[in-house]
Structures are given as C-alpha cells and as structure tokens.
Symmetry: C2
Subunit: 355 residues, 2 copies
C-alpha cells in the first residue's frame, strides 16, 4: 500500500462507537443505505449477502438517475477486517478492491479504508472525497440515539403496511436522525418480548429508554418536534384526541374488519355484517363529512394524521373507502407527502433486502 | 318575610358564577346531587321533573340510612326565581316552602334563599346550617373547571361499563374536583357531534378546552396528577406505552370480541374463531404471565391500569378470562380500589336517576 501510488488511496476516521456497531454498519443493509450515500438529499438503497463470495449492491439515488455500486465480499473477519470488490461508473466499471480495517481506539474505533486499483488520479481524488463524506455520515449515524426496531423480514402481503411505517413516517416528517435495527420475524426470543410484550414490532429506543406501541412512540417523538405535535395547549389537545380517535375509535373497527377481509371471512354472516357496519356506519360515515371540510384532522399535519391515514389506507386496500370519497382523498394527500414516500420505500427496501 | 319569625329563615350567598350556571345547578339532577348533600363523604342522588307541578327528590346517603327530601315546583322563572315545597324528616314531614332568588352581583351571582313554614326554632337553626353548608359546596362546584359530559340515560345492559367510568375513576383517584353534565342519549344533536365526532361519550371540558376520547382525557388528567401518570421520563414512557397497549393492542381485540358476544354472534364461524383467537392467543396469553408477576402495569397504579382493568372486566363479564387467572385477579384488585367503587356507584346512580 502506497499512498503516492496513483491507483491506491487510504482514508482514516476515528468514530465514537464500538467496533461491533461500526462493523454491523457495513453489513446491515439498512445501516449501509443510511450512511453510504452522496449527501443529505440523495439517498441510497442497499442489499447485502454478508458472506465471503456474497454480493452487495448500493444504489445511490441521484436526482437524474441512480448510481449503482456493486461487488463481492472477499474477506469477512468480524470486528477486524472486511474486504470486497467495488465496481461503479466512477471506477469506469473496472473491478477495484476495498479493504476496511477496524482498530479499537481510545475515542472509539478507528476505521482504515484502503481502496486499490482505482483508474488514475482523478478517480483517486473523487473516491477520497466520497469515502470522507460517507464516514462523516457514518459518524453522524453512530451518534444517533434513536433506533427503530422492526422485523428483519415479513411475507409479501403485509409489506408496506407493517406498523414501523408510522414511526418511519414521523421520523422523516420531523427530520429526526435514526437508525433501523432488525429482529427475527420467525424466531421471536425472550429479548424481543422484553421490549414488546405481544411479540410485535416496532419499538423505539431513545438512549436507554425503550418504547413500544406506535401511539406511545409517536407521542414521544411528538414531544421532540412541533412538526408532529403542536406545543400550544389547544393544538396539543386537538392533536392528541385525534391520535387516540384514530387508534381507539377508527382502528378498533377497521383492524378486525381488515383481518376478516384478509382471511376471507367477509362472508355475509351476521358477525361479519356487524363488523362491517361498525366500521362504516359508526365510524367512516362520521369521519367523511369532517374530512370533506378539513385538510388535516387538527389544524396542521400531525401524528394524528400519520395514524389516521395509515389506518384508512389499509381499509382502502380492501376497497372499503369506495363510498367515502373524502376519506379516500385524505389518504391520497397524506400518502403523497415526501416523508410518507420515503418511509414506504424504506420499508419495502428493508424487507426486500432480506428475501 | 321576617327573619325574626320563628318559622322563616333567609340564607344569602354570593358565588363567582353566572346566573345561568347557578340556576342550572338547581334543576339539573347531576348537579343537584353533587352539591345538595350533608358533607364531603355522604353523597346524594337526585331526580328532577323541572316544570311547575313537577316533583323532585333528593336522597342524602347517610351511613345508616338515606334521608329523603322531596317536593313539587311551584314557580320556575328562569335565571330569576325558583320556588318549591320541601318535605323531609327535618321538617317533621310537614310541607315547607323554599323560594330562591338569583340576583346579578359584581362578584358573580347572589342567591337569596327564603325557607318558610319551618316547624319551630330548632328546625330554623338546623336548616340555616344545612343551606349554608350546601351553598359552600355549590360555590366549590361552580369553581370547578372540569366537567365530565356523559349520556343522560342508557339501557340497562351497558350500565357500569359506559366509558365515562374511566374518566370518573381517574378523577376520583387524583382527587380532582369535577362536575357531571348530561347530553341526551336518544337525540344526539349537532352540538354533541361538535364535541364528539362519533356521537359517543364521554368528553371533558377543562375551562375552554373540550377533549374527547377517553385515552386523550386520561392523558390530559395525567398531566395534572402524579397519582395518574408519573412525572419522570421512564415512568412516564412506561405508563404511556401501556396506556396505548390497553387501547390499541388489547381493546382492539376485546371490543370486537365483546360486540360479537353481546350480539350472539359467538357462533363458531371461522370469523368468530379468528376474533376469539386474536383476543386470547395473541393478547391475553401474553398478558397473563406479565400480570402474574406485577401488581400494576408500569410500577405504581396509573391511567394505564384504569384502561386495562376496564378493558379486561368487559371480557370477564362474558367469561373470557376463565383461562387467565392472573388477568382476572388483576381486574379484581383494580376494581376493589375505592376510586373505582365510587366511580361505578356514581355511574349507576346517574343512569338510574333518569329511569
């Protein structure tokens, strides 16, 4: 390795995090997508097959077109060393080699990245800049106290509707930095139940607080951002009553209805008819005239809208809003928000990465 | 009127409230029961037929036996004058006459009460003391900013389970003063829907704030009392996650289940079986081991327990806790609390008074 060599660069950075955390940040696709991108606006999606010989891909979503980076893992020595090939437009599609070493340091962990076989000095300069920026983002990510925990994978059907989307959406609306961590879908252990007593997801950790129930998480985030929950007593009260209304009046009717729909038990029995009427006559019929007259439930867009729109879009999925055009239009305008689109794309990519 | 007369007394009191509010406090049976009683422990129940010639009854519940006061309205001039006959043990069952005049005063409203035809000086002294104390309670009541609004009447079946009980319970636990106001069960008008968009009860007014959804009301009250919601960040987070869990994880399963039970649609159809399993396998089975190990959900008793216990006792009513003894024991210890017993008795008395 010779830094004067016109085909090799070395980039070093010490980050205040454990070796464990930083090593995972390279191999967990969610983490990788969150720091390996070219800036704060363009985002990445990533897939990882974390074994020697396994492939990875990072798509950096530039405004004009995505830039594809891909390669194959050559060495994986947990918490010590990682090496992989690296091919992109910027390498002129030639195969280059990246080696990352992790050294325990007094201020955390030193990362030493060596990028070899780059095609010339311009490529060397570009990649030095690129890795330096990426490490800046990785350091930011490691400093983030908010961690959203969700399943590593779910079947096709619930994708896009797993409840972590409500938390992702709120975090994106508020611009709060966060990381995503996975727990196994198919093997929920005691640690999982200690965070979420019903074995569900998501939960959120904020420093040493661990909070389950999306309603409680959104309220917690709301206390941190006026983009989610107004600070004045009237705005706060109105937002909270609608948050509870979405969860305990509307979803209490819509979720059983959706379960019966999903399982094919929407069968004209008296029980089904009762649940159908509970949702439509007792809930949507009252919501419809309100949503025809207001853009959002409680003045400005808030956590109440995140929950209500997410509740209603599941009803819409089973065509339950056909007779409620104002409810449907409300769902459309809520889900057109950039924060929702980002949250939705992230959830889809997260589960797809584990297929 | 002659104060020296041995059969007539006059009691005056100026109270910081509008004439409107104070006039209503005499003719609304809920209000009447809350101030026309002999002290802070013994309570009253009241019925009122608020028209000239209509009868009223106030039962003051002394520890040994209720004391009955009754009479008939002779004059009702709204916001000016009220007169009625008054018969009780203390009048030696002879018919006496009470006239109440309402005068606008700079500090609120002056009430001038004249009680005629009392049987002698002892009765005069007793009634002077009685009315003076009652006016003290009326002044307290008028100063209370918290008003719980519920139905004037409901059918037999839901009594004891109407959701205002959660709010009554919280108010009693916290010792917060409040009044109860009624809205018609059978004729829900636009004003009702402006406070509660689904036409349900309860709602709470706190000064000029009006809040619906029991979850939002309990959270609002929790901010006022550590007996309901711990102030520290960890205690607060744990209480709130369990509040939402009770409303959005457990009740979302239990309420549809109860509706199907109540309507006789617990019929072994696949739809019923799914909802039964949703409640028992996905919820109660996870709650059972937790409640076997802890007295309350989140450390000290809190609003989370008020909701969870109320949710579970409806399941218990349909014998759904038979296989979950820890859940059942939890309901038993929560509903043995004096604040629950008071809230429950008040709700039963409130609806019974309108039969």
């Amino acid at each position: 390795m010779n830094q004067a060599d016109s085909s090799t660069i070395v980039v070093k950075r010490t980050i205040a995090a454990t070796v464990d955390e930083l090593f995972d940040a390279w191999l967990d696709p969610d983490s990788l997508a969150q720091w390996m991108h070219p800036g704060t606006t363009a985002l990445s999606t990533a897939s990882v097959d974390a074994r020697v010989g396994g492939a990875f891909e990072v798509l950096m979503h530039y405004p004009d077109k995505p830039l594809r980076h891909h390669g194959v893992y050559r060495q994986i020595e947990r918490n010590r060393k990682l090496s992989f090939t690296w091919i992109s437009d910027a390498t002129q599609h030639s195969e280059t080699l990246v080696t990352v070493e992790f050294n325990v340091a007094s201020a955390g962990t030193e990362i030493v990245l060596t990028h070899e076989r780059l095609p010339g000095q311009v490529a060397c300069a570009e990649h030095t800049q690129g890795w330096t920026l990426a490490f800046e983002l990785l350091a930011d990510l490691a400093a983030k106290p908010l961690v959203l925990v969700t399943f590593d994978w779910v079947p096709e059907m619930p994708r896009g509707f797993v409840r972590d989307i409500r938390v992702r959406w709120a975090l994106e609306e508020a611009g709060l930095p966060y990381r995503v961590q996975s727990v196994p879908f198919s093997d929920r252990n005691a640690d999982h139940f200690s965070h979420q007593p019903f074995g569900q997801v998501p939960w959120l950790t904020d420093g040493d607080l661990s909070i389950f129930e999306t309603g409680a998480i959104l309220l917690h985030l709301g206390e941190r951002s006026e983009a989610l929950l107004p600070a004045g007593p009237r705005g706060r009260a109105e937002t909270l009553e609608w948050l509870f209304a979405a969860l305990n009046s509307v979803e209490m009717a819509s979720l059983p209805w959706s379960l019966l729909q999903f399982s094919g038990n929407n069968d004209g029995t008296p029980g089904w008819n009762m649940m159908d009427s509970f949702l439509k006559k007792s809930r949507l019929a009252h919501l419809e005239p309100l949503l025809a007259k207001r853009e959002w439930l409680a003045g400005p867009f808030s956590i109440a809208d995140i929950v209500m729109a997410d509740v209603l879009r599941l009803v819409d999925r089973f065509d339950g809003l056909a007779d409620y055009p104002a409810c449907r239009a409300y769902v459309a305008r809520a889900t057109a928000r950039p924060a929702f689109l980002k949250a939705h794309a992230d959830q889809m990519a997260h589960f797809a990465a584990a297929d």
